[in-house]
Symmetry: C2
Subunit: 538 residues, 2 copies
């Protein structure tokens, strides 16, 4: 309607505001300083290039290209260990996070290794540290890799901006191992800043957009935040495996190249396979069930799964890591649900207990309320699908009892559950049969329901699973009812015709668990080199 | 030449020999018995179908389909634990490996769980075990899954053909959980027999060909041999990870979908990617190096790699599991070589110490001389490429000093090394530069050589690795010299332009290590569902 068009308001000022001008002036000043530093660097680099530099002789300079010329076996120190090495002479390879001069006799380097940093000091000292060396050090490009030799000394006051704040390195030798050839796409400081700081600060900071980060992922991954994120990603895999190994599971590796496009009709990628066609597995579902029919009893797999869905949401990737498991059932599919629940709680507890440092590091850039789950005798909250829908209906959402929940309603349910039960983690059991794939076992008493469940973190689904149909005739019948031709999946059905124990399982998306535990808000941040419909690089 | 053509010999008999006839008669007899058994089964199945069977009431029969009706939480016993449970009543779910009657009052079942088996006895006993039950049990189809309740009793004599030979189960209740719908493609006994036995026996056994096995992989995987093979496959992965975790490595997951066909021109699979094209990664080489440029320091990955090479050899698959690692170098690339060596010896030792049972099980079907490696102060045998070539030249092979070794020469070298040094495991270092990919670091003193190595088991290559070029200009130069346009791999080179530590690594093929350790002779036996140019199913 015409009257809803935006109208120019007279309140709009005609030029930039006073604070805006102040911000711009600061930004200009910053840019000027950076340009000066770059010029200085270049000048010194030219001086350097003229000199032949050898590690054993010179106090500073560029090391010759390491082609494995010799192996003196001198220990390199970890920055994280320096607090306990006061007085020792150490050799440290590290990134230069920042360098600056103070007068012409003193230079400071902020040295970084992964999630740890320390301050290094160069002070002009007769026969040890020359003026030239101090000048050269102060002009080192950010993100250079250096080899430093120096003495660890207690610092009289805590050092700001270094994770190891009680000691510093008094540098005696300094060598450049790898320099920067070109211009960094963004500074690590800019890439490490939380959004809240950018929004509230007086200074006009550069906001590094997600796309810029991903285009330059190698630099982006160097932030302490990302170093911690991917340590936590690896930790989730380890905790998953440790729990399952302790419970008698065997790891399997199933092929990603498939002869037929299988499962519930979801989009699969097509591969040119010599003179024919293959398809990329959209889950190890069929293979892990066949492993059960082959008597493996309990199996898990960690591997890539591929989804050719053209959706660019915050929580979808075209390739992600599936943590999948499948196990035989003795009496009831809740054996599987309990196993999955135990496994997830082992992950949550393991992260909390063993990766406190990494969680804190990430929290500085991505502030999040601590992830909550229920422990003890009451255990994990389990709702039936019907109960979950009822909570939404009671909250005013117009839904029928067998309706699917969309993303918005899932999040809403997450908030309702959090308010009522104070947990970020819960299970919904007994989904309507019509919402689940053909291989799902129906409920024994109500054929409209199924023996299936989803697990949720912060109102988003992270795991889907069920008891599967192990009886080949029932399986074929269900396939037909869902419009799948049993003949098209003969190898799969045949596996059950040769005898198969009752079984069930589930699959987690590794990146989703990581994203939701840390509240990273976009799944791309939880993937090393993410793939989506628009991104295949780097 | 004409005189070398084969000539029909008059020694050739005109009809089948006497022993041949005897073999045929035995085979006929066997087939007749199987047919009789099948007929009996069917008859009994019809009787069964007429009756309503309920687990809680009847002593034998088919359990209703397990749809998770109830959860009484009764423990299921592992067959491997039964020796220590003499006198106890146990509930066991197992496969029927074989069943037979003795008279009409006694039946024997050979029950199997993975690599373990036990004998179960049914004896007609008033009010406990009926004649009908014994008859039904004796006619159970091979590979049925049953639930047995009975008392564990010491056996007066060791039981032949059962891995648990000191006890047997005296059955009181017996239920069929999952039957066989159709005919087994081959018997598990046939599939478990070593080739040597088939060749030397009087009886004409069925030889189950590899293709038949792979077409019916789910049944084939049930042999005790295969159960052990894939426990050992999982064990290798665990030992790889444990060693690397203990040495500060982080697990990464790199994308298999790539925007460009990369690396040294080897064939890659093409994928339809929405409106464009993607390629399947033929190794995580580029990604793991980029992780090093991103300060991950030490990384490993376990994941599928894809090779679109149309070769159907005993040691090539189009999809296999790569165990890859990459690490920074402080002084010399032998730091990496030593790490890889330590990791492999950890695998060998771990298998020998912790998986004796599984290795023995496999050895029954695939007899192999025990895998040998050197321990202690002398350590792993390391030859330079030049020395290795010289050993072959000394043995009469016409080779030049920078020639590549073909598969035959590699095997020959393996035999020469075994004879001279008594080891099945060794390293060849310092390959000629021209034989290695563009990213390989040249030797510091001889530019025709490189800082690269291959590792061998039983004369076959299992690992290839090197120090990589971390200096972007040298890298671009080497790319051009190998005919690769640096612009086509801009993202990769850019990673090094932003500063990168010296580094190196290597990659193992999981299936190769498994095949060669156990001497399985064909890599398909070491892959759960193998993929080659002719096989995409099951």
């Amino acid at each position: 309607m015409a009257d809803s068009l935006p109208v120019e308001t007279p309140e709009q000022p005609l030029g930039p505001s006073k604070s805006e001008l102040k911000k711009r002036a600061k930004a200009l000043e910053k840019e000027k300083k950076a340009a000066e530093k770059a010029a200085k660097q270049q000048e010194i680099a030219q001086q350097q290039a003229a000199a032949e530099v050898d590690f054993a002789v010179d106090f500073y300079g560029t090391l010759p290209l390491n082609q494995s010329q010799s192996r003196p076996r001198r220990e390199r120190a970890q920055i994280s260990s320096l607090s306990s090495r006061d007085g020792e002479t150490v050799l440290v390879r590290a990134r230069v996070q920042a360098s600056r001069a103070q007068g012409n006799k003193l230079a400071f380097l902020n040295l970084r290794q992964r999630t740890h940093s320390v301050q290094a000091v160069l002070q002009v000292t007769p026969e040890k540290v020359s003026k030239q060396m101090v000048k050269w050090a102060a002009a080192l490009a950010d993100e250079s890799i250096v080899l430093v030799e120096g003495v660890v000394q207690k610092s009289p006051i805590p050092i700001q901006g270094a994770s190891v704040s009680d000691v510093e390195i008094h540098v005696q030798k300094l060598h450049l191992i790898s320099g920067i050839d070109g211009r960094l796409p963004f500074s690590l400081d800019d890439a490490s800043r939380p959004d809240t700081e950018i929004e509230t600060s007086e200074v006009q900071y550069n906001r590094v957009l997600l796309d810029t980060r991903l285009n330059n992922r190698v630099v982006d991954l160097r932030t302490q935040t990302n170093q911690a994120v991917f340590k936590l990603q690896a930790a989730i895999g380890d905790l998953f495996r440790d729990y399952l190994s302790a419970h008698g599971f065997t790891e399997i590796h199933s092929p990603k190249l498939q002869g037929a496009a299988t499962e519930s009709g979801a989009s699969v990628f097509k591969v040119s396979y010599f003179k024919g066609t293959a398809f990329l597995a959209q889950s190890p579902q069929l293979a892990k069930q066949m492993a059960i029919a082959a008597d493996f009893e309990r199996v898990y797999e960690i591997g890539p799964v591929f989804r050719a869905e053209d959706s660019n949401t915050h929580r979808h990737l075209t390739e992600f890591i599936g943590l999948d498991l499948e196990m035989t059932i003795e009496e009831h599919y809740h054996e599987v649900m309990d196993m999955l629940d135990g496994m997830l709680m082992n992950i949550f507890n393991g992260l909390k207990e063993k990766y406190k440092h990494e969680i804190e590091v990430v929290g500085k850039q991505f502030p999040a309320d601590e992830f909550k789950w229920r422990e003890g005798p009451e255990g994990t909250l389990k709702l039936t699908h019907r109960e979950a829908i009822q909570m939404l209906i009671d909250d005013g959402v117009p839904l029928g009892p067998t309706d699917d929940m969309n993303t918005e309603n899932e999040k809403r349910l997450g908030r309702l559950v959090k308010a009522k039960y104070d947990t970020d983690y819960f299970i919904i059991d007994k989904f309507p049969m019509e919402l689940r794939p053909f291989y799902t076992m129906p409920d024994p008493t109500d054929p409209t329901l199924s023996n299936s469940y989803d697990f949720f973190m912060r109102g988003e689904e992270i795991l889907s699973g069920a008891q599967r149909i192990h009886e080949p005739r029932l399986l074929a019948e269900k396939m037909r009812s869902k419009g799948v031709d049993p003949e098209s999946m003969k190898g799969y059905i045949d596996a059950f015709r040769m005898g198969c124990a009752p079984h069930g399982g589930g699959g987690i998306g590794l990146e989703r668990v990581l994203m939701l535990f840390l509240k990273l808000n976009n799944i791309r941040r939880a993937s090393l080199f993410p793939r989506d419909p628009k991104r295949l690089e780097p």
